[in-house]
Symmetry: C2
Subunit: 364 residues, 2 copies
């Protein structure tokens, strides 16, 4: 992708120069990312952008400044690609301030937040991710299990063996596409565990070895890199099961993984996981695991409110099992944490997951 991204940047530059030579206004086309152009696509099962496009043109008082900023960003990213070096958008921001000099600085990029939508413009206009432009995003999430990766980075070539990560696990990086390739995937499925503490518990039980899977924790809401990593495993044919708390935050994590999010709807194709299934915890688990009834917590207002909202979302209301689950929450006004499964003994949580996954007891 590195080379492809470079070519796309060069093509954009060539096009702009052509327009200048023809004495027309330089311009480029992007897709509208505002709420009005985000749709839930039943066919593919995720949120994506619609077809509304807009043209950014230099000779337009309202757009000239942003246009210039966007081109300055494109120029820097091109340089990073040629140098083969990565940075954060904060690093990019300082490069721009340095280049443009003291006098222009304050007007041009005094706020980093200003550069974010411009980078999104570039991502959409060129059909690349910022990771492909050597811009690092916040990384979060850890994995272990039956996979091997070849990591080409900083002039070195390193074999990452997911079965040899000890207590720590492999830290999922910002960019899992460029210079990072699976060498082998023996695992049969991906298990996503909301909390890092629970991931550590399962890692200690060597769940990924016993059940032949890849054990992932996004540590709460999932980073771009983490979603992309799971997507790549699913593209190899692995199913994915998600294990969160039974509460507003847990459901949110699951549905964002599955259907994507408003913010990143422009990248849903690469980041969303519509085939994923929910393994637990559910309020209906109580009828199968008696002791859980002792270990519930009173639902907070936000949990109840969220359950009420979710029942009516068109992409949820058609899932009868989810509707039944949410109704249980609304009836009992209780919630359950994944940690409660450690109540009888620490390793019970492994047995629970094994059983539910083998018996395919999912919410879809």
């Amino acid at each position: 992708m590195g080379n492809q991204a470079l070519k796309k940047l060069d093509d954009l530059g060539g096009k702009l120069i052509g327009e200048i030579e023809k004495q027309t206004s330089p311009s480029f086309e992007t897709v509208v990312r505002s709420k009005g152009n985000i749709i839930f696509d039943q066919g593919v099962g995720y949120l994506r952008l619609g077809n509304k496009k807009e043209v950014r043109t230099f000779l337009n008082i309202a757009q000239a400044r942003k246009f210039m900023q966007t081109i300055a960003i494109a120029n820097k990213c091109r340089k990073f690609l040629v140098e083969g070096a990565h940075t954060s958008i904060r690093g990019l921001y300082y490069q721009l301030r340095f280049t443009l000099g003291e006098d222009i600085e304050e007007d041009l990029f005094d706020e980093q937040t200003e550069s974010n939508p411009l980078i999104e413009d570039l991502e959409v206009a060129l059909s690349v991710k910022r990771e492909d432009l050597n811009l690092n995003t916040d990384r979060k999430g850890v994995a272990a299990g039956q996979f091997k990766l070849r990591d080409k980075f900083g002039g070195e070539d390193t074999l990452i063996d997911g079965t040899k990560q000890g207590r720590s696990g492999w830290s999922i990086p910002s960019d899992v596409d460029n210079g990072l390739d699976f060498e082998e995937v023996k695992a049969k499925y991906v298990l996503v565990v909301e909390k890092d503490a629970m991931w550590q518990r399962l890692n200690e039980d060597r769940y990924w070895q016993k059940e032949n899977c890849v054990l992932v924790t996004p540590k709460g809401q999932s980073s771009r890199g983490c979603r992309r990593f799971i997507r790549k495993l699913m593209d190899k044919g692995l199913p994915c099961y998600v294990f969160t708390d039974c509460d507003a935050w847990g459901w949110y994590i699951y549905w964002t993984l599955k259907t994507g999010s408003m913010n990143l709807a422009y990248l849903s194709k690469e980041l969303s996981l519509p085939e994923t299934k929910f393994v637990g915890v559910t309020m209906s688990d109580i009828k199968d695991y008696d002791f859980l009834s002792k270990l519930t917590i009173r639902a907070k207002e936000i949990d109840v409110k969220r359950a009420e909202e979710m029942i009516n979302y068109p992409w949820i209301s058609k899932h009868k099992d989810w509707v039944a689950e949410l109704k249980l929450v609304l009836k009992d006004k209780k919630k359950l944490e994944q940690d409660a499964l450690q109540g009888p003994r620490l390793s019970f949580v492994s047995d629970y997951l094994k059983q539910k996954i083998n018996e395919k007891r999912f919410l879809s």
Copy 2:
């Protein structure tokens, strides 16, 4: 430590049983952890507990409940040690709820926050860390460089090679003491970098290889595990240099690493790094690196307020270089981010660090 901790728990249990058999009230002694018993010890260079002790006794209306809770926790931790399994304090909480049954539950441990000070009681009374009791703490932070570790965990023995961690680095775990031993440390110093994005930048430059060091990022404020990991490297004779933003948050990160914190004063001996030095960024860098004057940011109110406070701390006021630096901040009302060093070119930050460390231009 695992076995030592087990012995300490057994000794405590034996003592309590002895007291019961003698028909006296079971009791144990701990050290007062409130602010009034925390002192800055000039001799060792960190915050630590004073000598005030208190006795917790069972036959005391005000203490009976807490006493019982503490013993219940000690009992569970003993079980975890015997089983060789770890959990979080959330896992512990559910084990206690499960054991004690539905009727007592609400009274005994309805809030997890309640168990935290009780665990601290145990840590202090037994002179162990909760990590030694198989309780995981939040982990954060990443390292790479010239070190090798042997990680005995989950029945496996894994070699962690700090030079073969690719783009990700080695994730610093909760417990870096039990079953985790250095096999080799070739590095000559430890470099602690505030931000993960900057760590990734330096990792890509293979700074740890070129400069023969261990490159650590705590990702902001440092976790217990991260502080302990650096402490262990320093105990092997490595000096430690810290690289943060020149602002309130950066200074806080540095001084907490160096002198410990109020919250963890009871563990300062194992967690604080009084010998550590500050490599940058400083406002005084501007006279050596001209371009930085273009890349400052207006200081926020909190930065100014913090600088004013810090000048008067007894453990800071004796450091003339720090006082001069803080006065510069107060005069100019500006701040500098470590990312600004990427302004001229992405790899400039490596040159800056190399130069300042070789020339020993530190604030101490």
